[in-house]
Every structure is written in C-alpha cells, then in structure tokens.
C-alpha cells in the first residue's frame, strides 16, 4: 500500500496514535488551569502562559541545584511540586493586588492581565537573561521506550500523559468531591446565595485563581521536557489554551477534556496527511465553524436566560 509494507504502516499507526494522545495531554495540561479560572470565575487570564513559564523557570532553577548536589535522578518530582507552590503563591498575590479590583469588568481584566504578562516576561528576561535555558533532565526522562525495534514511544510524552491524568483526576476530585470544591461551585453558581449561607466568596475567588495558576505552573514544569524555556515561552501556549477552553465550553471540566481530545486528534491526524501548518489551519477552521453553530462551546451548561 503506497509503497510501504503493512508492518511499517502498522508501526506508524501506533506511533501516530500515541502522538495524538500525547498532544491531547499537553493541551489538557495547558488548558486545565485556565478552564478553572475562566470557567469558574469568568476572568480572562492573558498571563496564563507566563504562569506556565514560572513553573518552567522553577524547574530550571531546581535542576541547577540538583546538579550541584548530585540529585539529578530524583529532583524532577520535587521540581513539579515546587512549580505548583511558586505559581500558586504568585497567583494568590496577583489576585489580591490586581484581579479582585477588576471583577465584573471582563474586558478590563483582559487588558490588565495582558499587561501583567508583559511585565512578567520582562522580569524573566531581566532575571534569567534573554536567552533560552534548558533544565538538566534525569536519564529516565530521556529517549524512547521500544516495545518492538521499529516502534519508539517517547518517554517524556508518557510522562506528560501520566501527569495530565493525575492532575485532571485531582482537580476533578477537588472540585466535585471536596468541601473546598463545593464552595467554589456554590460561589460560581450564585455568589449572593453562597455569601448568604456563610461562604467567604472573596477567599474562594482567591483560592480558585491561585489554584488555576498553580496548575499552570505544573504544566510549565512538565513542558520543560518537550519544549523551550525562555522569557516568551508562555506566549507559545496562550492561544492553544484559550482555544481548548472556549471550544470545550468555558464552564465545564468534561468539556475541556473532550475539547482537548478532539482538537488533539484532529490536529495530529491532519498534520500527518497535510503539511504541518495546513493541518493546524484546517483544525482552526473546523473549530471556528463549530463555534459558529454552538457559540457556547461543546459542553455548555444549560442555563435559563
């Protein structure tokens, strides 16, 4: 078939399937934090990518320490935790200093967070230099896993996938199965009522925003294995993140997952059969058409208007 043996085609199908799943987990990790912030709070956080960069830079710093103390083999797990904490704390402060003054003014938050993203980029540049840096990765994250000699499954892809599953499951459990999550959902559904029954909605907002930023930090940390770390790294992710969230329906976690999956598969398959940039363009075209028919996204929560 097309001058290739069945074996070759079989191998490519396997690797291509994996590559689609890998893209899915990348998109999901990217979008999850944003989905929480945008979906639950209605805040358009243009600095989302920069919080990912916070995570990435944390990893790079941790890797420098690890090299110094000869801990390269194990540090990565701690780096991810540290990335979460750093991004969480910074998100917490940003909410306190800036975002909370801008609730109910979505366009102003858009502008303000965009400004914030520029400020953060310049801070990265002044602190870490304008050039890209790379984290020293442990051996077990490099190379590929070969079930047969002709199939290579990238280990970093498997790692990102595993992480995406863990983070998504934790977020799901937190939002739908815990007291804290209950408060978040209550505040989102009806702020006044939630406040009336004794929920400190301001605190909930701050925690939600910080949580979203923390998850962005985790995403950024894990992306050091597959992509670049530089002052403007964040801007590489922001468009894709918004695409996933908006397409999925902003208020739904399941929607975000479904949207990341369908975008990833469409893009991965189209890029295989067309050229890379044409594949991406076609995916975007399909998304635009679907959004024209379903402006609320794939999984819109049914609201009476």
């Amino acid at each position: 078939m097309f001058g290739y043996t069945m074996d070759e085609i079989g191998n490519i199908v396997v690797m291509q399937g994996f590559s689609g799943l890998s893209l899915f987990s990348v998109l999901l990790l990217m979008a999850l934090g944003l989905a929480i912030i945008f979906g639950q709070m209605g805040v358009i956080n243009m600095a989302h990518g920069e919080f990912m960069a916070v995570g990435a830079y944390t990893t790079v710093l941790m890797s420098k320490l690890a090299v110094k103390y000869d801990l390269v083999h194990t540090y990565f797990v701690f780096a991810i935790i540290a990335a979460f904490i750093f991004a969480f704390v910074i998100g917490y402060l940003i909410e306190f200093l800036m975002i909370r003054h801008l609730y109910h003014r979505p366009l102003d938050t858009l502008l303000a967070t965009w400004g914030l993203s520029l400020v953060m980029q310049q801070i990265f540049r002044s602190t870490f230099g304008a050039k890209e840096v790379s984290a020293e990765l442990p051996e077990w994250l490099l190379g590929s896993f070969q079930p047969t000699p002709d199939i290579d499954i990238p280990i970093n892809g498997v790692f990102v996938m595993g992480l995406a599953i863990i983070v998504t499951a934790s977020v799901y459990l937190y939002i739908y199965r815990s007291r804290g999550g209950l408060r978040i959902r209550a505040t989102m559904q009806n702020r006044t009522m939630a406040s009336a029954v004794g929920i400190n909605t301001k605190k909930v907002d701050r925690m939600t925003f910080a949580l979203g930023c923390g998850i962005a930090g985790v995403a950024g940390a894990s992306f050091t294995t597959i992509a670049s770390t530089g002052p403007t790294t964040g801007s590489l992710y922001i468009v894709d993140s918004f695409m996933v969230v908006v397409f999925g329906g902003a208020t739904s976690l399941i929607g975000t997952i479904a949207s990341a999956f369908s975008i990833a598969q469409a893009q991965s398959i189209l890029q295989f059969f067309m050229s890379s940039s044409m594949g991406k363009v076609s995916t975007l075209l399909v998304i635009v058409m679907i959004l024209m028919m379903r402006p609320e996204g794939l999984f819109a929560s049914k609201l009476r208007k």
Partner: protein
C-alpha cells in the same frame, strides 16, 4: 553649524604640526584627529566632532527576538570598545547611541529614523530578522544612512546603504549540501523549516540544488508555524519516509521543541543524519547539548574555531561577558560590523556615507575571528562555510571547511 571648527584648527595649526611631527618621528601609525579636520571628513552633517563620532546600535533588547539579538549587541559594543582603546576612528572616539527595536518591526523603522535624522549617526550596527531589515531599509535609503547587518539571511537583496556581514543563502546552503551528500552518500532528503521567508527561500534553493546538481530526491518538504511546539506528526512522517538526511531550518521556541521531541522519538544522531542551518552556540543553550549531540550545523563561524584571531576574540568576549558566555555565528558577524566600518572610513579618509560605501568593496579583513573576509562589490562578504558536529557540552567540532565562497545574493538558476 560647524563653521567655528576650521578656525579652531587654524589656531591650533602650530600644535597640530608639532603633534604631526611627533607622531611621524615616533612612528605612531595612529591617525590623529588633527590630520582630519572635521569639516573635511564630514561634509554631510553627521554627528562627528573633533574628538568623537557617534554610531547607533539598533537591536531588540526586549521582546521575542532579545534571545537572539543580545549576543549581537554585546559583540558590537565590544568591537567599539576595542577600536576606542586602539585610538578610535580617524582619531575620534566612537560614541554609541543604543536604541531598542523591541522585536517590533515598525519600532525598528521609527528608531532608525530617530538615529539617522535626529542623532545623525555615522553608521548603524543593527537588525537581526529579515523583517526588521526590510522595515528599516526604506529609511536608510531615503536618509542615505549606513547599516551593518549581521545575520545570515535569504539573500535576494542588495542595497547601497547596507553591508551584510553574515552569509547569504547560497553561501550557507550549497557547500554544506555538497559535503553531506558526498560524506554520507545521501540520496534522499527531508526539508523542514519554520514558516516564513528565510526557511522558505533557503529550502527553495536547497531543493533546486539537490534535484538539479546532486541528483538526489526530496522526499518531503514541511513548514511548521512559528511558535508551534508539537512535532509528533511531523516526526512520524519522517520515520515513514526514512530520509538519508534531514535538512532543517526551524527557529525560536519551535527549534527547542523540535530537537527535544526528535530525540525522545528515538531519532538521534546514531540513527539519523541531520544538517541544520538554524542552530548556533546560542540555540544550544536552550536545546541542550544531549539533544543535539552528533547532528551537524552549517555556519561560517563556530566558537571552537582554532586560529589566533578567534582565540583572542573568545578570550576577550569571556572577559567582558563572563565565562559561561557563548558565541554564535551571528555574534561573530556582528563583531565584524564596527571593524569594517572603521576600515571603510579610514580608507575613504571621510565619514561621509557615499565615500565609505565607495571605499569598502575590495577591503580584506584579516583579523576577523572567522579567519579572513573580503568585502564584495555587492556589499556581502566572501567567507568560508564550516560544518560543525555538535558535542554534548554545547560546542561543535569543525569537521569540514570550504574554500572561500563568493557571495551571490541573486543566484541564477535557483530562483
């Protein structure tokens, strides 16, 4: 505006004579400002005084391109400091006005206008991307400015007001392809680049050369959107086609993702030969030496070049910018700018742009870190091409060095 100057030098003529005599008797080769009265060396109202001359540096110190342009700024400043320490140009110290293009092309045009029209700089060292150069070109041509442009680029341009100190596409591409085809007995090629003018023009030249002269076959040609970080599908396509050589010109953040994912997918240098025209020592920092080890880059300069000029240059650079500083191809090309300008001015005996432009072609710069360059009448440089094979530590072993290659910005048969 400068009418008082000749009078001043008249008054000083006695001391001038004495100085001249002293200079001659002591055998000092350095030009004294007094030998070159300002009114004579500056007939077009540039920012030249009896003791100083002002030049501009115009690069992105902020924004996306700061990653790449920082090295150029450093090299240019270092060259200027060295020239000043050696007595300046026509006895005048070089003063620098630095402007930030902020990775934004209209800003580049604005700032170049400011440098040329308000500051009246005698020359500008600047620009990095072709887009920024295209943006400032009309300004330089209208105001008759002088630009030294350091980046290797796609060619197809030649302006009276620009000297191109990097290589144009044919210099970087043809000899490299010849070498790797012969060395690896390659028949099939896969071309991949970022989706903008430089990779597209370069790949067009590469494809023509492969098909017409090397009788090879291009089994795939692919362009990825700028900033795209997902290469899974592209890598699978490459695995299916099994090319002898991957010929790559991916840039920026995508470049890092490309190498990391390629390596993770099992396509390392043991299994796959790759020649890239978009990786210098600067990029290695972000990509990581372990992901590049064994792959080849085609550049005119590598930091590891062994010659006395380069050893002095590298030592001086590290002295200025720290031991961990690395020097890529463009950084070296940027370093040539101030030196070439100085040579042009001294040959012309004038700062006037027209005279410098007329004087510079034919000039041979033998102290260049890359070894030797010559300015061609088409304003590009004669230079050699080297192939470097990357080591894990982020430096390259030079495995091939071409003859001097004439610049040919408008290659016949490749367009």
């Amino acid at each position: 505006m400068r009418e008082s100057k000749p009078k001043l030098s008249n008054k000083l003529s006695l001391s001038t004579l004495i100085f001249l005599a002293l200079g001659l008797t002591l055998g000092l080769g350095n030009a004294m400002a007094e030998d070159y009265p300002t009114a004579k060396v500056n007939t077009t109202g540039l920012a030249v005084t009896d003791t100083t001359v002002t030049v501009g540096i115009l690069h992105s110190a902020t924004g996306t391109m700061a990653i790449s342009e920082t090295g150029s700024i450093q090299a240019e400043k270092m060259a200027i400091a060295q020239i000043n320490a050696a007595g300046g140009v026509l006895g005048r110290k070089i003063e620098v006005i630095q402007e930030d293009g902020a990775s934004d092309w209209p800003t580049f045009a604005e700032k170049s206008k400011k440098l040329l029209e308000n500051d009246k700089v005698a020359a500008v060292m600047g620009c990095w991307t072709s887009a920024s150069r295209k943006a400032v070109l009309p300004v330089f041509e209208k105001d008759n400015g002088l630009l030294f442009y350091p980046t290797f680029y796609e060619g197809l341009e030649q302006s009276k007001n620009v000297f191109y100190t990097g290589q144009e596409a044919t210099q970087q591409i043809l000899a490299g392809l010849d070498w790797i085809t012969k060395e690896k007995k390659a028949k099939t090629f896969y071309l991949i680049g970022s989706d903008y003018i430089w990779p597209r023009t370069s790949m067009k030249i590469a494809r023509k050369h492969i098909e017409q002269y090397l009788k090879g076959k291009v089994v795939g040609e692919e362009y990825v959107a700028l900033g795209d970080t997902q290469f899974g599908s592209v890598i699978n396509k490459i695995k299916l086609k099994k090319p002898d050589i991957i010929y790559a010109a991916v840039v920026g953040g995508s470049n890092v993702a490309w190498f990391k994912q390629l390596n993770a997918a099992g396509l390392n240098a043991k299994k796959q030969t790759m020649l890239t025209i978009s990786v210098t020592e600067d990029e290695v920092l972000g990509i990581g030496g372990e992901n590049l080890e064994g792959f080849y880059s085609a550049m005119k300069y590598f930091q590891s070049l062994k010659n006395p000029n380069n050893e002095a240059f590298v030592a001086e650079f590290k002295k200025n910018y720290g031991d961990t500083a690395v020097i890529g191809d463009v950084t070296q090309a940027a370093y040539l700018g101030p030196w070439l300008w100085k040579a042009g001015v001294e040959k012309a005996g004038s700062f006037d742009v027209d005279k410098v432009v007329a004087a510079l072609p034919g000039y041979e710069f033998k102290a260049a870190p890359e070894g030797y360059v010559k300015v061609d009448p088409n304003h590009h440089l004669w230079s050699k091409l080297r192939i470097g094979q990357w080591r894990k530590d982020g430096q390259a072993d030079v495995v091939y060095e071409s003859e001097l290659i004439a610049p040919d910005p408008f290659p016949k048969g490749y367009q």
